[in-house]
Symmetry: C2
């Protein structure tokens, strides 16, 4: 009988194993995709794309046992050669090739110059050709940074005693109600796609005290803007036994601090490729909604048009204000008007026309909505009735409250938006692997 | 201006801070949900449920500044008291209460005895009352173990150079085709829910070499069995530059070994609560599909009825065989017949009626399907044509191959099934937070 015993070290090495000073002069094997071939006559530079970066290989006629004419860009290969110091090679070393073995060949040549530093394709073309445009080093790096964001989110919450949960995306009713819900047929019954894990994460506070989820959410919003997606990954948490809604903002501050730490420590390569300036997270200012409106109205001489919500331009100005006045990249805007927040939001006892809720703005854009929730069953029912909402499909949600829930609150962070603002992109599609919007259902 | 600077240590302590020997005699604050009250007359035992476990508190008339009559089960409280050694208390210490502050109260008493060790409710009732049945200590522990499974999966793949991806769940076409697809309307266009991230993870092998995703998948299967769900969390990975499909099984072996390690090190409390015997993962036998059929047919005197697929009973017998013969908990069954595998499966060059694919059986049930995929564009097109499949909606998928893909393969593990077999449960709904099946769309 044959047995598997785990992962064995391969002969073919990765960049982090190749590009160390003690490897100089060694004969090694590696593999990768042929990113570019620069034929200089007697020699050629063959750059391999590997998961950790690029490796410059040198083909020499008569030395490399292979006919260069048989090597195509976008082929994948296994090569053998000697590592030698080279000032100009990425990582300071290049591989003098002795053999090339072709593992696979493309059927057609590339329609876009993926090996260029900046491809200069339109976003539309980039998205249409996503499976190959992402092979560009800068494009790929964006999603490594995004991985770091999610890793930092999970790691920090794990360290704070949160439990990761997986809640259903098909349900009988949306958490927030409203029209922006995708509908489907579920074995001859009407069903919807979850617009957020809101109800589930609240119910699970009664079980685990602190929970988080990183999962897709679905919004049938008919917005076609640079900041909206119809499907995105929501980084959600919900925590019980809070003393005030500031505890939630303090936790988000901790999350953001840890994300920056993870990026600095583990994603420096990608940060350098993308020339990212990491934001300040040591202290994040907190300002009331109405105060924020007043401050920017005064400083930038702009009339307040809608007293109940922030217009995108106001978000930009609030961020600008706090950057100018406090060198802050993030700002918490608190106490949103009750009428613009969902029924489960906790009204401010001091003035129930406002809520104990907040948005977090990052470089001009809302990346988080959060707040304290009502935890008392009777209070919740009262607010539902006052709003004239049906409790149909809310049985389980209300059950949790009927049988006791601690004071709690939480938030949701848009993963793509946070990545977008981290990277200084101006369209959320740039930091979405395969965006879904009004017109885009493929690839 | 006020600033948030991160998470501050609270006065209220968690169990891991309370139940250490140097805390004996100390006056402390903590909080929790009132799990049970046992009134003994002059004293009462008030057990608090906290996220890390239970804390026994002692209420003494005349000592605790509170009227016990005002304390309800399922209330949440903040308490103060002195920690004292107690043989009988969980964790060896109990809290002699000086004060109780009620944070929230239930509106109704519990319909099920959640404080019992085993609730003895039917699965149906348990699922109907999910938000509160999960407050039972054993129920809750199942999902902590599940958290450990996912953590182990991610951690190991991260250490092996995999990139985490987030792929869309709404698309224009299912990856595997067939009838088991949920359909929805996407802004007046027909759309479907992803039955797997198959196409996307393969495309991303061309970008990151190694990728994984932990996300929901949707199957409109009309099975109402103990092992099927219509929505579940799939632990997927896909890896490039494989030398053979054994590399994929070796990687899964490594994943399973790390999961067991994480559970041992970080979830010993839950393993003890659930009396879990961790499986052997040091070596996992590998047997051909036809050979496995023959072995169990001979040993257990059972005729082979369907030569192309494994019946559930056969999966049980194969696991039994390898347990009896090799003390193995997992077994890889390889070389499934080509006609039962999807078009993208790599046929075995030695006999193209079989594929370089496998299932992993765990204690009698398939928990993983995986294998090597076709990476050559022309070969892929040929197989698609031979099967008479339409390539409609596959443009992006085929684009990846047209422009070069390394030899690769991968797998998907059913999170709920793996947890189910780890815990010795016999219905996958037991290890699903909020199951979706033919009749269950709520809660």
């Amino acid at each position: 009988m044959e047995f598997l015993t785990g992962v064995a070290q391969k002969e073919t090495l990765e960049l982090s194993q190749l590009l160390t000073s003690d490897m100089e002069g060694k004969t090694v094997k590696t593999n990768g995709a042929v990113h570019t071939i620069r034929d200089m006559g007697n020699i050629a530079f063959v750059v391999l794309r590997k998961r950790e970066g690029l490796l410059q290989c040198v083909y020499e006629e008569g030395v490399t046992a292979f006919d260069l004419k048989d090597l195509k860009e976008a082929a994948t290969v296994e090569v053998e050669g000697t590592l030698l110091h080279s000032e100009k090679a990425p990582g300071g070393m290049e591989l003098r090739l002795s053999t090339i073995k072709v593992l696979s060949e493309p059927a057609e040549s590339m329609p876009i110059p993926i090996a260029k530093w900046k491809m200069n394709t339109s976003l539309e073309t980039n998205l249409n050709l996503r499976p190959i445009s992402l092979r560009n080093i800068r494009e790929r790096a964006k999603f490594k940074v995004q991985e770091g964001v999610v890793k930092g989110f999970r790691e920090f919450l794990d360290s704070q005693g949160f439990t990761e949960i997986h809640t259903p995306k098909i349900g009988s009713k949306g958490a927030e109600g409203g029209a922006n819900i995708f509908k489907l047929e579920y074995f001859h019954r009407p069903a919807v796609l979850a617009q957020s894990p809101q109800f589930y994460k609240q119910m699970m506070v009664g079980v685990f005290d602190r929970v988080f989820e990183t999962a897709p959410v679905f919004r049938a919003e008919k917005h076609n803007t640079k900041r909206h997606l119809n499907e995105y990954t929501s980084l959600d948490f919900e925590m019980g036994y809070i003393d005030s809604f500031e505890d939630i903002m303090a936790m988000e501050t901790g999350v953001l601090q840890h994300i920056v730490k993870v990026l600095k420590e583990q994603y420096s390569r990608e940060l350098a490729i993308l020339n990212v300036e990491l934001p300040r997270t040591d202290e994040i200012p907190m300002v009331r909604f109405d105060e924020a409106k007043r401050l920017v109205s005064e400083k930038y001489d702009r009339p307040i048009r809608n007293p109940y919500d922030l217009e995108p331009e106001e978000e930009v100005l609030i961020s600008r204000y706090f950057k100018e006045e406090y060198d802050a990249d993030f700002v918490f805007v608190t106490h949103y008007p009750s009428k613009k927040r969902p029924f489960y939001a906790m009204d401010d006892p001091a003035d129930p026309t406002f809520t104990l809720s907040f948005d977090c703005l990052f470089r001009g854009m809302e990346i988080t909505t959060g707040g304290q929730r009502i935890h008392d069953y009777h209070q919740l029912i009262e607010k539902i009735e006052k709003r004239g909402i049906t409790t149909e499909g809310m049985d389980a949600y209300l059950m949790a409250f009927k049988h006791g829930m601690p004071p709690h609150g939480g938030l949701g962070i848009g993963m793509e938006r946070l990545t977008m603002k981290l990277l200084g992109e101006d369209n959320v599609r740039e930091t979405t692997l395969f965006p879904r919007d009004l017109s885009r259902l493929e690839p």
